[in-house]
Subunit: 499 residues, 2 copies
């Protein structure tokens, strides 16, 4: 029932093995961090079911590996590796590695229930200083505190939204009185008589230290990624469990975020399953190819995917300025011959390109390439977009891959002297992603659903031959990361409570 | 039936006045450009209905104003200003001005039916040179030509998509023979025996000259914008005409793109109209607030919009990483007192900020601000995003405004010393947008629909009092620019043919 599809051996493990870790992986821990260590202790001591405990421990582990104390790591390991002894190495780990936009190496995960020992206003710096029970200090700007007053006049509680308009915010305000209340909150009297009261835990979570901010950002966005190559054993879970069990669904989405691909087994062999899966999250993303779409060999195909030909590695829909973030593909019928799927980690390949051919990396992260898609499906469409093939944020971190050779436009908005360097750079990237050591190949069977990060993975398909009476048939659907991350946060809260 | 809502006088004009222009505006033409001039002549001479002719002429006019010959301008004016004499100034023009990412000032609009006079291969430069009937020359790289071979082996015609994978493209190819065919096409024999044939018009459109590329980009994306302030008379059209007449729909979408806001009059006073309007384009954008959403005063409001309070100027949904590009708001019931709408041109305000306070502009175009939205509506949601309030592209051009003070998170991912400069910068921007000379105020009546660019405009609402038995009620819907631009291109092709 459970298997990790891939080009390598297929060990069987249940949902828990979405985040398999070995003792060896844990031993690779580096510097210690006090807050993380306490957090790990707390985790280890907390009485919760083994199942979600281990799931969460694994989710938190990238940070913990580097920062938790030996005792905490031991405690965590004791909880999370009943299966580790039997698995000589993590089931999705090859020689690849973790890369994160925000690492937790030096970060403190916000801790609840921090008592306020003392508070004072630093009038000259226009900061409030909070001293915590453990002796630590945090500083908060007057303006930010006034901006985030939590009283019913300033915040609409039912929407958790700010009512105070910026035009009414005095960005030069002083404070009259700052004190700790009897119930250990921080109260501020402002010069205009307005009063604000802040909860200690809320303040602690909003600490402006680099470590606290880094931890908060990782908690909000889970930007840390596990990079992989052909040795990946694709994390696998059970379709029905994911539909009906919050812990299973959380583990699925955490792996989807971190690894970029999760395989679900055991879906009925009929249409409608990708839509059910999308409902589990929120809603799917409608596109010009419909709410869901049928990948079959079609006469007068309006997309190269709707043929029986080979599809080279690509991301879907770069002709949309905001390409779908997540893709589901459900196998209803498989081909008699061929039709194997191929995937590659586009972020990892971009990192390799940057190392091997920095000039090509610079070209693909700067040139904006035209994509086009014209036809009729859900309705008629004439799409045009302009995207960088390796999209980076303002800090130069790779955040999205946009590449589909089929819809790359004949329009190329470059001066003549930059045309050949562009082709050279693109070829260099494509050559890296086509190396056998980087590609994971698998063949879907009826009832399998592959779920993957369409902003990160490139996927392809080998050409195929179908039985004429039983055409190869996949049903697909798209979702966006905002909706997936929203469900992930809700599930994490439901499963972990107020940790 | 037709009116331009706004704080100024309301002239009445029909759909054609979506792009009103006066002689004075035309006289502001600058340098002449041969291609544009010919293009304008062609327009002027072409026998088409006055209606779409004038619409198209106005659409093309920003470029024409600057480049067309006096004769061409006169010809165009003769076609497009039967109403101009009665309108002493353009009905949506104040002292504001045109700003474009891609101006047509020096661009040549691709012209159809260019004959090829001569063709030769420049083997050393690896370029094919085409000499046109008019004496002009264009150069095309070998690699690009091979990459864009239009034969059925290389291009799937039904999908207009490239079949030739990049791995099969020889990016160092030479050419064996280049010649002009009997039917005036360019044929290339490649060293591997493959043959490509290119149409002259297709080649001309794909010319790599800066002017041709600029014109092509403007044709594809219509990035040129008309900037405005409080003197704007909002372009207005008829709801039923837009639904049923392609020329009216095209004029609507062109104005929506260029001005950022169009008012539609004459919709039935019941729910479902914004969905019909979305169907006219393609499909609407589902969000956590539903397919469409009802702006009313609600108990336990999950959004500040669902109260009767004032809403300060904002863009919708910055808590989504890809905020909806276009918004429709249909007035079903209006308040007894208050409830006036306010809009401001966020791109224009950003330009003012850059001029008046460059440091604030730098801050708002660099700091990534956290937004949050949590609640339950279509389903439960916990959204988090990180956006620049003034979003710029790699070239520093403003492409999107992301600002809603209600959903701006209390999480502020900045070191302490950058907090106060951030508030100062945001306040500077908000102060500019709140100046009376920049804000357009109008009050919607039942049956009115306002359609606007949510990436560009900030909108607000004054507080209101409703009749208890007849609550103020707007129905809203979102779309994305990709879908709107797709419909615009299709309508342009349908209305203008193969111009």
């Amino acid at each position: 029932m459970y298997g990790a599809p891939g080009s390598v051996a297929r060990p069987t493990f249940r949902l828990l093995s979405l985040f398999p870790l070995t003792g060896a992986a844990c031993v690779s821990a580096a510097a210690l961090g006090g807050d993380i260590s306490r957090f790990a202790h707390k985790l280890a001591l907390r009485e919760q079911s083994d199942m979600w405990m281990s799931t969460f421990a694994r989710f938190a582990l990238p940070g913990l590996q580097r920062t938790a104390s030996a005792t905490a790591r031991q405690a965590l390991r004791a909880r999370c590796h009943p299966w580790a002894a039997a698995a000589p190495r993590p089931s999705f780990m090859g020689p690849a590695h973790i890369r994160g936009h925000q690492t937790l190496g030096s970060a403190s995960i916000p801790l609840a229930h921090q008592s306020v020992r003392h508070v004072r206003a630093l009038d000259e710096e226009r900061l409030v200083e909070v001293e915590w029970e453990d002796g630590g200090h945090s500083l908060y700007p007057f303006t930010w505190l006034r901006d985030n007053c939590q009283c019913p006049l300033c915040t609409l509680e039912s929407a958790q939204a700010r009512l105070l308009p910026l035009s009414d915010l005095d960005i030069h305000t002083g404070v009259d009185v700052v004190e700790v209340t009897n119930d250990n909150k921080v109260s501020i009297a402002w010069p205009d008589q307005h009063m604000s009261v802040f909860d200690g835990d809320w303040l602690k979570k909003h600490c402006f230290s680099a470590a606290a901010r880094q931890a908060m950002q990782e908690e909000l966005f889970l930007n840390e990624r596990y990079y992989w190559d052909s040795k990946l054993r694709i994390p696998t879970a059970d379709y029905q469990e994911v539909l009906h069990d919050d812990k299973a669904a959380l583990a699925w989405l955490l792996a989807l975020r971190r690894v970029g691909i999760v395989y679900l087994k055991g879906a009925p062999g009929e249409k409608g399953q990708v839509a059910r899966l999308a409902d589990r999250i929120g809603y799917l993303r409608l596109t010009f190819y419909g709410h869901t779409w049928q990948v079959q060999d079609k006469a007068m195909a309006n997309n190269v995917a709707y043929t029986s030909g080979k599809l080279s590695l690509h991301t879907d829909y770069p002709a949309l300025h905001f390409a779908p973030g997540v893709q589901f593909l459900h196998c209803i019928n498989q081909a008699v011959k061929g039709g194997e799927s191929e995937v590659v980690d586009g972020f990892h390949m971009a990192e390799k390109l940057q190392r091997e051919d920095p000039e090509a990396f610079r070209t693909l992260t700067s040139v904006r390439v035209d994509f086009t898609d014209t036809g009729t499906d859900y309705c008629d469409f004439m799409l045009q977009s302009k995207k960088r093939i390796i999209d980076v944020d303002a800090e130069g971190r790779v955040v999205r891959i946009n590449y589909n050779n089929a819809t790359r436009d004949s329009v190329l908005d470059l001066p003549l002297h930059r045309v050949q360097p562009f082709y050279r750079a693109l070829k260099a990237y494509v050559n890296i992603m086509n190396r056998p050591e980087n590609v994971v190949t698998y063949k879907m069977e009826p009832g399998d659903i592959v779920t993957f990060d369409n902003w990160r993975l490139l996927h392809g398909r080998r050409s195929y031959v179908s039985r004429p009476d039983r055409l190869r048939h996949l049903e697909g659907a798209y979702l966006d990361w905002d909706e997936v991350m929203s469900r992930l946060r809700i599930l994490r809260k439901a499963v972990h409570g107020d940790l």
